[in-house]
Chain length 264, copies 5
Amino acid sequence: MDFATIIGIFSGVGLVVWAITSNSGLEIFVNIPSLAVVFGGTIASTFIAYPLTEVLRVLAILKNAFFAKSEKPSGKIKEMVEISTIARRNGILALDKELSKIKDEFLKKGLQMVVDGIRGATINNVLQLEMDNIWKRHQLGHQLFKDMATFAPAFGMIGTLIGLVQMLADLSNPGSIGPKMAVALITTFYGSVFANLLFLPISIKLKRRSHQEALRMQLILEAIKSIRLGDNPRFMEEKLTKFLSRAERMKTSKAAESSKKKSE
Amino acid sequence: MDFATIIGIFSGVGLVVWAITSNSGLEIFVNIPSLAVVFGGTIASTFIAYPLTEVLRVLAILKNAFFAKSEKPSGKIKEMVEISTIARRNGILALDKELSKIKDEFLKKGLQMVVDGIRGATINNVLQLEMDNIWKRHQLGHQLFKDMATFAPAFGMIGTLIGLVQMLADLSNPGSIGPKMAVALITTFYGSVFANLLFLPISIKLKRRSHQEALRMQLILEAIKSIRLGDNPRFMEEKLTKFLSRAERMKTSKAAESSKKKSE
Amino acid sequence: MDFATIIGIFSGVGLVVWAITSNSGLEIFVNIPSLAVVFGGTIASTFIAYPLTEVLRVLAILKNAFFAKSEKPSGKIKEMVEISTIARRNGILALDKELSKIKDEFLKKGLQMVVDGIRGATINNVLQLEMDNIWKRHQLGHQLFKDMATFAPAFGMIGTLIGLVQMLADLSNPGSIGPKMAVALITTFYGSVFANLLFLPISIKLKRRSHQEALRMQLILEAIKSIRLGDNPRFMEEKLTKFLSRAERMKTSKAAESSKKKSE
Amino acid sequence: MDFATIIGIFSGVGLVVWAITSNSGLEIFVNIPSLAVVFGGTIASTFIAYPLTEVLRVLAILKNAFFAKSEKPSGKIKEMVEISTIARRNGILALDKELSKIKDEFLKKGLQMVVDGIRGATINNVLQLEMDNIWKRHQLGHQLFKDMATFAPAFGMIGTLIGLVQMLADLSNPGSIGPKMAVALITTFYGSVFANLLFLPISIKLKRRSHQEALRMQLILEAIKSIRLGDNPRFMEEKLTKFLSRAERMKTSKAAESSKKKSE
Amino acid sequence: MDFATIIGIFSGVGLVVWAITSNSGLEIFVNIPSLAVVFGGTIASTFIAYPLTEVLRVLAILKNAFFAKSEKPSGKIKEMVEISTIARRNGILALDKELSKIKDEFLKKGLQMVVDGIRGATINNVLQLEMDNIWKRHQLGHQLFKDMATFAPAFGMIGTLIGLVQMLADLSNPGSIGPKMAVALITTFYGSVFANLLFLPISIKLKRRSHQEALRMQLILEAIKSIRLGDNPRFMEEKLTKFLSRAERMKTSKAAESSKKKSE
């Protein structure tokens, strides 16, 4: 799990708890019916909006986004340069025994097609199709959590309205007005916390993740094109480093030099 | 009807009712004039905005989205592989007697054109045109319910404003202020519930559904292209599985193997 | 005028009036200064934003959208099939005397160019240009009313703020606080009603209308292409019905059959 | 300056002033610190967001949008037809002495390139590039005022919050609560008026203006293409009138007829 | 640092401080827990949403956007014209020794490829790829601060809700209600100030900056194309000035004339 995520979750929840406990007990902010309305209502609306299979699929993507280590593009480039060097020295067919060592499904698939001698345009089409569909699936997850971030504050307000209406309908005991309003507002509080500390950040994370995946796959696509055309590994490497930010490039330059030495 | 939808509707409505009844009677939240303003106003604005024919068309799409079982892409792929195998073994004209067995209108139409020997570009144009128009019609439904989700809270606020103005104009009886405000707020409550538990989830569902339909039709388009060009059914199957998510692919692999055996 | 629009306007206004009169007199909701601030302010901002010629043009489009009967695509298809049949039987030049009978300006223009023997690419360019510009003009109307739907609630709030500030600046007479706040809130009420029962629905209607117009013109474009190339009228009809929804197609099938008989 | 703009500004400001003075003196709505927070804060945020050169450039565009008379497309068409007629009768080189009479920079540049015998594709590229950059600059102005329309109500709320916090921190004098809240709310009032009667309408005006400029340049582009290819001036005129709305076309038809007579 | 930015930050903060101190002491607006909730919460949500590497990368972009002097396009054009003149007079290979003097990494890279005789299409591809990736990285920064501008007011509201609930839960001491509400509202105040005087302007600045960078790189791309094709430096200059606004062009014309003299 990304270190920043852990810091974010702990510090975010910690801050809210600290802000509460520095002035009162935490118990006045624990209200099960309020929690049920906000969380339950959000889930209910999500289940009306999305088929069960899509909800489950998003959970899988989510686990992946938080726990699977995102591979660095610089490492990927190194791998591609090594493959390209082998292909250049020993011919494309020599890649056949390398295939079993490759873990990246997308890359493996693409190289397999190169080894099988399938036409370049066809390889491009097939990989492009896969990229489009992975992109769409990630977008689905991004959209689902964005919708949840819309539902949560709405159900927060619905819960608060329920409490306010009940309070206003019976003002016979003036002393209970304050506490009743306090309880009513807790639902809005829950809705806002869920949306801004959970659903919205997750939605953004999935969007960023889909951009990273797209970048990775575009990089592989370019590399496979170069390998197929028999480009010089150095030139390919230079082209691929275009995908890196300036900061990454500096860090990469040393690794690249050592990998160049190997390839020579 | 999708199981998640049923859970969603029941748990959503149930939660709200439970949240109300745990603190007061349900009757203080039943107010026919408030309901009339929110629901009636939303319908009225929708009827000004959309021609009658489009409203009716959306109702048909809606029924379809909730009750018609969405066909799984994996099942569709199996069907396409079988058709492709027949075309490969017995020639394209052999598909003519298969056509009557096919229920999918879009697929039938496309294969009919292949059998009739119509040019590939023309087949593509005609099917693409159909896809575009089905897409536009689904977008219409998505947009109509999104607009309703905008109108409902607005009329909720209009109703609340009516109640507040009436209350403020006559403050002679202080004891009635609370109950009057309670009634005024119920309209906002209705507007929020309608928007977030009904119109917005339906709007999202129709958007998702249009994506699924587009996927299905794109899959068929690719398959028809392969059949027309006489591609190897196995290669076509591999290409089509690109449309499936990783999870679906694993589930499909067994079905695919059995279908392969049949086709060999 | 579309029947749904009439129902919408009457029921919408009726509902609001009914909701008011069921609890108080209508007169406390009539406030000329409030009306002036909301309606006048909205018009003023619109006049700063849009040149006079564009405002007038939108009024013309508006009249058209509400009162001109939108032609059904199915009727248009029937007309195109008849023209195509004549062209096929008697040659394209035979269309020359048909031209005077055609009321649709866009279709007439297109056919005239076909009869004049102008090159296909040029015809396409000219008609496409006209389509783009009609589309842009409709978008203008859609956008203008959307902007008005933004201005109206804003001026509603401005009016309410004026009333609140005046009330708060002089609290010497506690008995007048209620009625003064009531009057202040009426401006927000007006802004919300104008936006949601007038400007927003009209904006959506103009957007839908522009989609319908685009559909009609695309249909004519396709038909003219077919006529120019001498396509079989039946094949053309089948292609054109792609523009219809499933519901319309069923209704059309009978009309189509009778028109086919004529063309045979 | 456009007549509608003058009406809009005067009636908008007049309405607000009238609404205020009909119930109280104008002086309770004049509050220099509030004005400073809203206007100053908006300008401050704008200066952080945009480089000084861009702010100045937008002021120039703004002056142009409000004071420079927007040329009518119909007049432009007449001009183009005259030029085309000269080119047709006396050859393209005859345009050389006409160039000095042309005031429109974009048109002049384009015709100069035609006279210089530069290749059609190059002319198109150069003019297209100019169009894109003019478009981007107009978009900048549109966006800057849209951002100001976001900042103004935000600083209005910030000012109101400052006043509210100060009032709530010292409730010792109950009699001053009302006036203090009144002053606090004036900031929100200013923010709303600035946004809706100034920044938002200006933003929309600049957007419309950029559309008009784009239309004008597209029209010139088409005309230059026709002149270069030696099209019949009448056919060119017909093509160019596609850019006009129906209303403008009717008005134009007479002018066009007279210009046709001249060209014959 | 851009002069307008400094003015903006100082005047913005100054205005808010002045507005506060003109009516009360600054100390009632200093509240560390409120600050912690708003700023800490915003950072926490950002860290959940974005991987640590991306947050750090954005900080680098930010430093650059505020402190690195943005190069003027007119200066860039002058540089390109000089290079083009050398290439025209002494041949493209003569550029080789000029390369070491060029500081602009993007330009250097492009010219190096021209000198190395790499094919035009390849040069275009490589530079386009670099442009796309720089664009995406700038978009990331823009989006990150836009998200922070969404989180800040949300945590402002969360903090206010915490304060309100605590106040309402214990109304035993009426005298403390005012000050407690004051403290609660300070969090909303912080959220609004952070969003509108910090995060939103920075987000816009990064968006503008990415547009400027794109413009600069597009200009270089055009220039390299011209140099490669051996265009006349004057014609190239004219083409490049299309990227300048009218105001810049006038200022440039003199510099251009002097540079022309040199090139002759």
